[in-house]
Amino acid sequence: MLAVRIRRGEGPQGFQTFAVPRRANQTVLDVVTEIQRDQDPTLSYRFACRVGMCGSCGMTVNGRPRWTCRTRVAQVAEGESLTLEPLRNLPVVKDLTVDMEPFFTKWRDAHGYFEPGETPADDFATVLPDSAERQEVDAGIECINCGVCYAACDVVSWNPDYLGPAALNRAWTLVNDVRDRGQAERLAAVSTDAGCHACHSHMSCTEHCPKGLAPTFAIAGLKRETARAALRRFRRKA
């Protein structure tokens, strides 16, 4: 049997422990689902696809943020015990469910959306797969918005305004999108005190990203690009 401690309230007393049978190839999400179906229907958590596509089942498993649908119990159980908590750095709605609104608000604040410009392009843009820009986009485009990097980031925990790794990673993929017409505004949006320069390069996001992305390098790219843009403005004024 597996002893599963689940955070359902605040403080050291806020845990409830459940006993769940070990099963072959059992994932952490399977464990939570079994508890909710067989033992306590009031347990709240969130999931959708169960196959690592939707990014909705992020939780803190034994102190580390993870996507639970693709995390096997055998990988992470310490002895025969699991401790499950909601993702860090986000408001808790109930039990293991967090409010993702601040996370997505910051995507918008970082201009993490495609900006087509005032008039539509006359023709299709030709983007060669091996061009430097496309390679940068490919490196960061597979983000599933799970919030694991955001929960792992110490800078977010110190500075709640910090845009965070996911939003900045998305901004970097768009900076490298040759069709986008909102670059100056985007670079300004990621250059505030809550932007890319606040990153300490701890690399927790890169360490924990379940998709193996490297937001730290995307943020470093934004630092380079915003610096170049600032120098260009400086030279024009001089």
């Binding site: 250059s191 932007g195 600032a230």
Partner: protein, 109 residues
């Protein structure tokens, strides 16, 4: 942080990496051999190279330190806004004035 502050901090960090190393080596050299204050002043007096080196060192520190301290204070104390920026500009001025005054003092002594 504005990209210009970021560039200023990175640029001065590169200068400080060199100047701090030279500064420490100079201290070790002066202390290890048991130079007296008079002997040290004899070496620094009228030495334009010495003055130029320490002027660069002081100005780099005066730019570098307040930018870093501003970020630390923002993260750890929640101090934000114009008052913080004004305080950091004042700190920069204090470092520059005191440092240049010291460098100039041993140059003319």
């Amino acid at each position: 942080m504005s990209p210009l502050l970021y560039l200023a901090q990175r640029g001065t960090a590169a200068i400080l990496a060199l100047t701090v190393a030279v500064h420490l080596a100079t201290i070790v050299y002066a202390v290890r051999g048991g130079l007296t204050a008079g002997e040290i002043l004899a070496r620094t007096h009228g030495n334009a190279g010495f003055l130029a080196f320490y002027a660069v060192f002081v100005l780099a520190a005066a730019i570098h330190a307040p930018i870093g301290l501003r970020s630390v204070l923002r993260e750890w104390t929640g101090w934000r806004g114009r008052s913080l920026d004004v305080a950091m500009i004042a700190l920069s001025a204090v470092i520059a004035v005191l440092g240049l005054r010291a460098a100039l003092a041993v140059y003319v002594a």
